[in-house]
Symmetry: C2
Subunit: 425 residues, 2 copies
């Protein structure tokens, strides 16, 4: 399914270092299962691949069908963990140009007046629905967008029609969105109270938008179930990945670049940046997470990686079988000197670029971790998501921080509310 | 036009440090004008806002008109500096959803077989043109894409029709693309031989795709001319920006995050990452360039920035007047508690978020540089582009490296050619 290849780390760590850190990783994972570590109120994601609410999942699928029937566009209003997971999975699993079915637009994650204004113009003559996602319902970015979009919907549709156009994902019992949903009798889905936003993509938070994009969410959950079982064994890939990154961090490698050779993974990398950055970046610690798409960014960030400061390491995702492949044609003139590749397929060239880059960067002094993934489908995405979630929990515990809180996110909000004159409760 | 606000740096550097480094910055800029520094063969961009080829510029505009008439889609085939600048400017200056006129698609910057295959499917029933951009014409990513696209075009159009569908931007005299263009009599534009890719956006490399997107390229050049004159004076903002980032770098701040509160600038930040990363990341030196779009990414990278390792600083771009604005409506129920903002406009809230974030991050120990930009239009983009180019040249000379070469980019290519069995010349 997914293999963690550590063969390009030889010079950067010793077997003894790895063995010692693997012991820490095992203890850390035990804390996750035992709920004996910091932040153990937020471990709902651990058993979720099996313990999820089956009734809710079938309502998710039904809602996706309703939206596909009622709408041209679904606007997903949410910020941070309330949209990054869905956006990651939808980008990874849908075609580049012509998307089948419903158009999905993400909003409520910016306060840009131009974005919101352009969105209003775009939607005015279209049938659209909104899936608003926020635990409290008062997240500023999302609440502003929802107020504007809901106003549009109320002008566009009769009250009873709204039931097919507004879907609310929020706290099970309380909060502003829950109140609005109750008043209008909108269908609601749950932001689980024991799951932080960045660990919530496999709940209704992620699965409703993903299902609306025509993706088989059962297969995603199957991938999560498979990795759940695989990670129950010791010496698993999550422990190894967490151990290696902590060894490298201790040696001064404090920037990690997640890399893919498939542009559709660019949003997956953004999801990963939140997962690791928000989990580990605290108490003046943490690996700084960055993202590259190769070979594209070899022509922008490649120079730095090859010859800049030696404080970074790379985690490379290799997709063995592409969704589509294409041969390089023969050309009798051969002015571009490419005939040596004619008859070869593009994926062969792409994966050769990957191997060559790992070789070149390792020679340049960059530790290389490789994740080998058979193919980029629903199952493997589910597998990857949960793999990274568990790796992040283990890694955070090794680092000695609480990987499930995000106290620093409040700082800009408090100051902003003060400046905006928000009334105190 | 554009102001560099350094008032949030008080605790992180002294006036004396700034004065000393400003002397280095002045000497560095003198080297740029004198052509007395390393890489002085690549200073064609310096006088370009005035010295550009006027005849070529008028052909660029004419070609844009031809393409708009002949095609639904323009495919821009290029990698690194051959597409990042155009993509940056087009994203920044066109609306979010419905783009006027021609659709612009970037290709030739990836070897993804799925991307290329999906692109072929998308184009098959459309009229399209290709602007292929490569100095040598043998850049692997771009050459493969062009071979495939050119094959499609040859099946779609008669030979004489091809003249309205293929536009070649390459070396003035030699190389594979120049030969192809000559054979088919395609119109050609020049990749200036004295300008690296990352400094080439204001040449035909960037301006043809930008003009095809319906953007007024004369206004962009006017902005570049204005900043060219502004930077002729000492104590200018390019010297200051270069000086400050070198002081911070010496103090251990080795990650710089460029930030915007407008999502359409996401590709501008990618262009900037190439400019600075490829210029400075060498000889085991250089600030690692990263990008955030706020407030969006405050809910992903915000935690790290607020409380993670204190080795980063932020350069924040503030756009004072947005392209479109929108008021937050009143709601009589006020369940979302947003009525304290009703009647206020979104841009006010967005810029308040910016000020609050600068305050919060500074309190958290992050040095803050602010670039104040009146508005996001052609003129200011031209101004910004050249400002960053000059800043980067100055900054690189202060750092003691050649800001105009990229020797490290060859490493992955050599290994890849070896693995692919490319014949040696």
């Amino acid at each position: 399914m997914i293999n963690l290849n550590l063969s390009n780390l030889g010079d950067f760590l010793t077997n003894e270092e790895l063995e010692n850190m693997m012991n820490e990783a095992k203890s850390a994972q035990k804390k996750v299962y035992d709920k004996s570590g910091d932040g153990s109120d937020y471990l709902g994601w651990v058993d979720y691949p099996f313990s999820y609410d089956k009734e809710e999942l079938s309502r998710v699928k039904k809602a996706a069908t309703t939206i596909a029937r009622s709408s041209d566009v679904l606007v997903v209003a949410g910020i941070g963990g309330s949209y990054l997971g869905a956006k990651a999975v939808i980008s990874a699993l849908t075609p580049y140009f012509e998307k089948p079915g419903l158009e999905i637009i993400f909003a409520g994650n910016t306060i840009s007046s131009t974005y919101m204004s352009n969105l209003k113009d775009y939607l005015w003559d279209k049938d659209f629905s909104v899936n608003v996602i926020s635990k409290s319902g008062t997240t500023t970015e999302t609440a502003i967008a929802f107020r504007i979009l809901f106003n549009m919907l109320k002008k566009k549709y009769m009250k009873e029609e709204l039931l097919e156009h507004v879907f609310v994902t929020t706290d099970k019992e309380k909060g502003a969105l829950k109140q609005i949903a109750d008043e209008y009798e909108f269908e609601t889905f749950v932001v689980p109270s024991d799951m932080g936003g960045r660990y919530s993509v496999l709940s209704a938070v992620g699965l409703l938008p993903i299902a609306c994009a025509g993706i088989d969410i059962d297969k995603i959950l199957k991938g999560a179930q498979a990795v759940y079982n695989d990670l129950k064994k010791d010496d698993n890939i999550a422990q190894k990945y967490a151990a290696v990154r902590n060894i490298l961090y201790k040696k001064g490698y404090d920037i990690e670049i997640l890399e893919a050779y498939e542009p559709s993974l660019v949003n997956f990398n953004e999801w990963w940046k939140q997962l690791f950055g928000e989990s580990e970046g605290k108490e003046l610690k943490g690996i700084f997470p960055a993202s590259c798409i190769f070979s594209t960014d070899l022509h922008s960030m490649g120079q730095y990686i090859q010859e800049g400061r030696r404080n970074l390491f790379e985690t490379v995702m290799e997709i063995k079988e592409p969704k589509c492949n294409i041969d390089i044609p023969f050309d009798k003139n051969n002015l571009d000197n490419l005939n040596y590749l004619s008859g070869k397929d593009l994926n062969y060239v792409n994966n050769t670029a990957l191997e060559a880059t790992i070789f070149a960067h390792k020679e340049g002094g960059v530790p290389e971790i490789k994740l080998e993934i058979d193919e980029l489908d629903e199952f493997h995405i589910g597998y990857l998501v949960y793999f990274f979630e568990m790796s992040c929990a283990i890694s955070g515990y090794i680092l000695g921080i609480n990987p499930f809180n995000q106290p620093g996110v409040e700082a800009y909000k408090s100051k902003m509310f003060e400046m905006l004159g928000k009334p105190k409760k």
